[in-house]
Amino acid sequence: MVRTGYDLSNSVFSPDGRNFQVEYATKAVENGGTAIGIRCKDGVVLAVEKIITSKLLKPGTNKRIATVDKHVGVVSSGLVPDGRHFVSRARDEASSWRRFIKSPIPTSIIASRLGSYVQMYTLYSSVRPFGVTTIIGGWDSEEELPVDGQVGSGPKMGAGGKDESLRSGGPGLYMIEPSGLYWGYYGAATGKGRQVAKGELEKLNLQNGTLSLLEGVKEAARIIYVAHDDSKDKDFELEMTWISGKDGPTKGRHEEVPAKLREEAEKAAKKALEGEDEEDDSSKGDKMEE
């Protein structure tokens, strides 16, 4: 870019209507480990490619996916400390909702509040924008929930006059960019491998609402592996969490995918990759090093 001076301060527009500091923040994200979220029919999967920056770090520690409330998980790509601050704000939002409304915060609302929070960091010259793009996954209870702390449960036969045709709750997936822009997604990807990952997510036809959570876990692992470029990128660890409805494996909670299941999914992912390589080999005839 030609140095025009319009890129030095946050919140200052260039004459052609751009905010360079926000664009630079987006650049920081483009180098982060790939993070994806998949909204399945019966839950949400979050996965991240955690680049191993040093052999001196203990495997399985320094988690990058955080639980914000029982039913909400957050994964980010970009500057790790910015991600941590974001998570801390998300937890504040969730707990203040619980204090005031005495129920779990709906995924759409926490996404909207955090979107506003991130946007505020584009407005002032005294701050810089967030160097992360964040994916928020949640499950809003399909059941009626009691008010937190309530005693008793009303009449045995339950309340009358309900509209039984109403459906509420279910999976939610949102992605917030450094500009504060956020959308709800069927499948979301950010970080270094986002282009490849988005391509793979599109092939899943998530809008049909047929992919199950278990399939989602397998696909998430595979996509992180596909998006990782072995020849260029450093080694990575796969971190994966999921949230299901009350009939599913996590009972409405955001939890880490059990190690056994994750390893299974990783094995399948590697196998699928090898299969792809063989196809490449036969068609192109050149060998890829592992």
Partner: protein
């Protein structure tokens, strides 16, 4: 309403909220909540917090009005900010927060009742200490002590709207009869999918009317 020496208003009535309609009745597609109380003032102590949520107040009128006004304001904010109507639970949670955290400064016994399509009709009671109780029906105020037996004997699950109204009216008549500080008219609001319908019953004709007119 009699004045106490502190200048605080005494408990001034009875509140009964009752839950609801039997399925399979003509009215079965609706939930019914009835809140009633006796009142001397034209406005009465039933205060619409949101169109289909009502609060019943007993204790200090100043305290309970202030609390209800705050909740009403917050619920309005909620509706605008999140583009969805607040549920009865939301209202109950807000009341409880205020009543519990200011328990040493308030003399407020609240009953919150409301209808929303997802949860149907519900009744919550928040007594003096600020605890929150979900109940089938709730009674409160000075006159309520006289009608615990009446309510226990006459309340049934799955009553029709008409049965509900009669139950409430019957209970209140007893309360008015026995409690020196309860008297005057019976006010009622019935909250269903159709909205809030107010009733009024006068002592002049033995509490038979004018009803909803």
């Amino acid at each position: 309403m009699d004045m106490r020496k502190t200048g605080m208003l005494n408990e001034d009535g009875i509140h009964i909220d009752m839950d609801h309609l039997k399925k399979g009745e003509v009215n079965a597609d609706r939930e019914l909540r009835i809140q009633e109380r006796t009142a001397e003032r034209p406005l009465g102590p039933t205060l619409p917090i949101e169109s289909r949520i009502s609060s019943l107040r007993s204790g200090s009128a100043a305290d309970t009005q202030a609390v209800a006004d705050i909740v009403q304001y917050n619920l309005e904010q909620f509706g605008v900010e999140y583009d969805m109507p607040p549920t009865t639970q939301t209202a109950a949670a807000m009341f409880q927060e205020l009543c519990y955290h200011n328990k040493d400064r308030l003399s407020a016994g609240m009953i919150i009742a409301g209808y929303d399509p997802r949860h149907g009709g519900q009744v919550y009671s928040i007594p003096l200490g600020g605890s929150l109780h979900k109940q089938s029906y709730a009674i409160g105020g000075s006159g309520s002590t006289y009608i615990y037996g009446y309510c226990d004997a006459n309340w049934r699950e799955g009553m029709t709207e008409e049965e509900g109204v009669n139950f409430v009216k019957g209970a209140l008549q007893e309360a008015i009869k026995w409690d020196g500080s309860s008297g005057g008219v019976i006010r009622m609001v019935v909250l269903t999918a159709k909205g809030a319908v107010r009733h009024l019953y006068l002592p002049d004709n033995g509490y038979t009317g004018p009803g909803t007119k």
